[in-house]
């Protein structure tokens, strides 16, 4: 009985990792190349952009919010950096300036949510639309290319065997983990999502926490945009379109409660990888792209449903 409930608890808590393992075993059995070093590195490289943004999204969702503008910020970062470099700015300063601007756009989300009392879903829906427009305006609606390719080292380089974007993602997750689990700020993030009023009455500035999480999300979306740009070496106003959905899916699959206050960033890594493994595996198996979408939607329901059902079982057991 004790062992049974222990196993059940483990399943309830880490079931998502089991899903990931099952998927890997399945694709490994169906495709001989799936477990090759090259392919595994490939999967990691493909999820890097979504992974970086997912860290910021985890902060936002933990406070009970949501950020739909991440994809548009990626687009802005992509064309803005490209334009700056095309204008002769060095890659270093162009990236730094872009990250600053993207953080400000994140802060803008926070301002709308905090000062205008607009629900995050609506606030970031508005900025998603507006910022995508700005990305097109900056680039004149066309891809921006022809700048010096010093930045490509960021997206295409390796440190030993590991692609740089993967390292950036790993560092982002590490920073996110540290921040959420070992700092005062992290505790407040959980507090705001768990019970905003109790947090406020404990003398914590809820607004400051919300400003911070949206700024973090903007900054990391900018970083992801720069990584994406350097991988393809061309600024795309359309870059990151639809990424918000991939990112939110990954975070939710990772078990972060959409109502805030509960979730573990370690499992978000699993969520991100599930998305990547699915894409990669289905491409290896030559599955039609439209079918892939159907499968992804199904997996979201299945993964979260599995989680919910095991939670309920745990409660009534």
């Amino acid at each position: 009985m004790a062992a049974d409930s222990f196993a059940r608890r483990l399943l309830g808590k880490y079931g998502i990792i089991l899903v990931l393992v099952v998927l890997c075993v399945l694709f490994g059995a169906l495709s001989p190349v799936f477990f090759s070093t090259e392919n595994i590195i490939n999967i990691f490289r493909q999820v890097a952009v979504v992974g970086i943004v997912a860290v910021g999204m985890t902060f936002v969702i933990l406070t009970g919010g949501i950020d739909l503008s991440v994809g548009s910020i990626i687009g802005i970062a992509s064309v803005f950096t490209a334009q700056l470099m095309l204008g002769g700015m060095s890659a270093f300063w162009a990236v730094l300036l872009t990250l600053a601007i993207c953080s400000l756009f994140g802060l803008l989300n926070g301002v709308i949510v905090n000062q205008l009392f607009i629900p995050p879903l609506v606030a970031t829906l508005a900025t998603m639309t507006a910022l995508r427009g700005i990305a097109f305006i900056i680039s004149g609606g066309l891809p921006v290319f022809g700048f010096s390719n010093t930045i490509s080292a960021l997206g295409q380089g390796y440190l030993w065997l590991i692609p740089i974007p993967v390292i950036i993602m790993a560092l982002t997750f590490a920073a996110g983990f540290l921040s959420l689990n070992s700092t005062r700020f992290g505790r407040y993030v959980y507090g705001v999502g768990g019970n905003e009023e109790a947090t406020r009455l404990s003398g914590i500035s809820v607004k400051r926490i919300k400003f911070s999480v949206y700024t973090i999300s903007g900054f990391l979306s900018g970083l992801a945009g720069v990584v994406l740009l350097s991988r393809i070496n061309s600024g795309q106003p359309k870059a990151g379109q639809g990424y918000e959905m991939d990112v939110i899916t990954a975070v939710v699959i990772g078990g972060v409660s959409i109502s805030g206050g509960e979730g573990n960033i370690v499992l978000v890594i699993a969520g991100v990888l599930i998305m990547g493994v699915l894409s990669n595996g289905m491409i290896l198996l030559n599955i039609d792209e439209y079918v892939q979408w159907v499968v992804k939607g199904f997996v979201l329901v299945a993964a979260v449903g599995f989680d919910r059902v095991s939670q309920r079982r745990k409660l009534s057991a």
């Binding site: 505790r187 009455l201 404990s202 003398g203």
Partner: protein, 500 residues
């Protein structure tokens, strides 16, 4: 009519119910009393089909019931009215009563007939209620009445009421009890769960006491008294629930002058060092609003605060905390605690700044400090990492208290300190408060429970309609005087109502 035999339910580490056997007969009001954690909620959940017992038999009219699901319970005529109501706020009274069972005509809801049926039901039960009124426009008392009507309309044979009077005023309780009487006349069995012993003696026919998951006694109301019930509940005689103390309040530490906002109509008072200042009044008199304004949780339009004679600014909770003021809100679950977080994380929450270096938490220190506080307050838990939602109301309240003691505050504002708390924990809270005041600190205690107000306070300030109706010194304390001030009845017995 309803029999429970050997009902047992265990959770990891706790036996919630231990072979409980109970009999409920037709048309009786049967009270279930017991401290928090005695197993009352588990019992309700089993009867309403929310959880399945590990062992035991439930018999209805001599027939053994198998596994009871919530749907099955309703079909059998078992209705439960929880503390959180199951009503749709935007729908009307009639629509709520017949929700899911609307009278139909040619595929559409027959609204006329529905309202006629609802009106007839109201009349039958002696309730005056507009069946077109929307639930969200009704007070809590009437919402509860709608729940009862709903149950009655569904031919409930057994009605379980969980702490029905907790949110009600004295007058509303009278209305509720009249309806309970009407329901009883219809041969419905009422299982009545309450902490308030006076009520049990007012309307119940029999009472069963649970303690630590066991049924320790079932008695006819006429054969027992409050003292005996309390001793059954705590397992020991309880002579003096309020600690005696020789208080000698010192100089004035805090002065409130001309507080005014939407709910407060310009009130002033002082608080002395080492004093427990009770604040009485009816629900809606503005007591909670006063507490929140003083703590900076709600804005003031006008008014100022003097701290040791110096004016201070309190615009937000941070300011109040910096001045050494703590607030334990009335609505513990919504405002006092973080249910999903652990005991440790709750206690350390306001003082994380002192428990971290460069933003990083010093977890060992945090653990040591929280362990000390929760130990000093006797929080019953196997581990500090236990989530607060798994604790009983009394233990949750102790966690909130520990949180504020951790901030080393000098003034505690305590809004309904013992709401939803069992007798044993109440006593512990009282002695903690007394100890706090004896250390030369001050307490503002808002309470709707008259004995508590009189037993604990050094001075009682009675509020009515957003202003102070009167202040009673210790030698003037009496329930009658407090009530008269609170309801605006002058000494001569004539009613006057200042504002309306």
């Amino acid at each position: 009519m309803l029999e429970l035999r050997g009902i047992t339910k265990t959770y990891p580490g706790v036996t919630a119910l231990d072979a409980v056997s109970l009999d409920f007969s037709k048309g009786e009001v049967h009270a279930i009393a017991g401290e928090n954690g005695a197993g009352k909620s588990t019992l309700i959940k089993i009867l309403s089909g929310a959880i399945v017992p590990d062992a035991g038999i439930v018999r209805l009219d001599g027939l053994e019931l198998g596994r009871v699901t919530p749907r099955e319970a309703i079909r059998l005529g078992i209705s439960t009215i929880y503390q959180e109501f199951n009503l749709v706020p935007s729908l009307s009274v009639a629509e709520n009563i017949f929700f899911g069972l609307e009278p139909m005509r040619r595929g559409f809801v027959d609204k006329k007939r529905m309202h006629r049926m609802a009106s007839r039901l109201c009349e039958d039960m002696g309730v005056e209620l507009d069946t077109h009124a929307r639930i969200k426009d009704l007070g809590v008392a009437y919402q509860q009445i709608v729940e009862i009507l709903k149950a009655v309309s569904r031919d409930a044979r057994i009605l379980i009421m969980d702490e029905p009077t907790a949110p009600l005023t004295t007058k509303e309780i009278d209305v509720l009890f009249e309806i309970v009487d009407k329901v009883r006349e219809k041969s419905v069995t009422i299982i009545y769960i309450s902490h308030r012993l006076e009520e049990i003696f007012r309307i119940c026919d029999r009472v069963s006491v649970l303690r630590d998951g066991r049924n320790v006694a079932t008695k006819d109301i006429s054969e027992t008294n409050q003292q005996e019930l309390v001793s059954f509940m705590v397992g020991r005689k309880l002579d003096e629930i309020y600690p005696s103390r020789n208080s000698s309040p010192g100089e004035e530490v805090l002065r409130v002058e001309g507080f005014r906002n939407g709910k407060l109509k310009g009130l002033s008072f002082g608080l002395r060092r080492g004093e427990i200042l009770g604040i009485g009044g009816l629900v809606g008199a503005g007591r909670t609003e006063l507490a929140r304004a003083l703590f900076g949780a709600d804005p003031l339009v006008e008014g100022r605060i003097l701290f040791l004679g110096r004016p201070i600014e309190i615009k937000k909770p941070q300011d109040a905390i910096r001045q050494g003021i703590g607030l334990l809100p009335e609505d513990r679950k919504q405002q006092g605690i973080l249910l999903g977080m652990s005991i440790k994380e709750n206690i350390s929450f306001p003082i994380l700044k002192d428990l971290s270096r460069l933003g990083f938490l010093r977890k060992k220190r945090e653990k040591a400090l929280c362990g000390e506080l929760s130990g000093a307050l006797n929080v019953k838990t196997p581990s500090l990492d236990q989530k607060v939602k798994n604790l009983s109301g009394g233990n949750q309240q102790k966690v909130v208290l520990a949180k504020w003691l951790g901030t080393k505050c000098d003034i505690l504002i305590f809004d309904e300190p013992t709401r939803g708390i069992d007798v044993g924990a109440k006593q512990e809270i009282y002695s903690l408060l007394t100890k706090f005041a004896d250390e030369g600190k001050s307490v503002i205690m808002i309470s709707s429970e008259m004995p508590e107000l009189i037993g604990m306070s050094d001075r009682i300030l009675v509020m009515r309609n957003g202003s102070i109706a009167g202040v009673l010194e210790k030698d003037e304390f009496s329930q009658e005087r407090t009530l008269m001030l609170a309801s605006g009845i002058s000494e001569g017995g004539e009613a006057f109502d200042g504002s309306r």
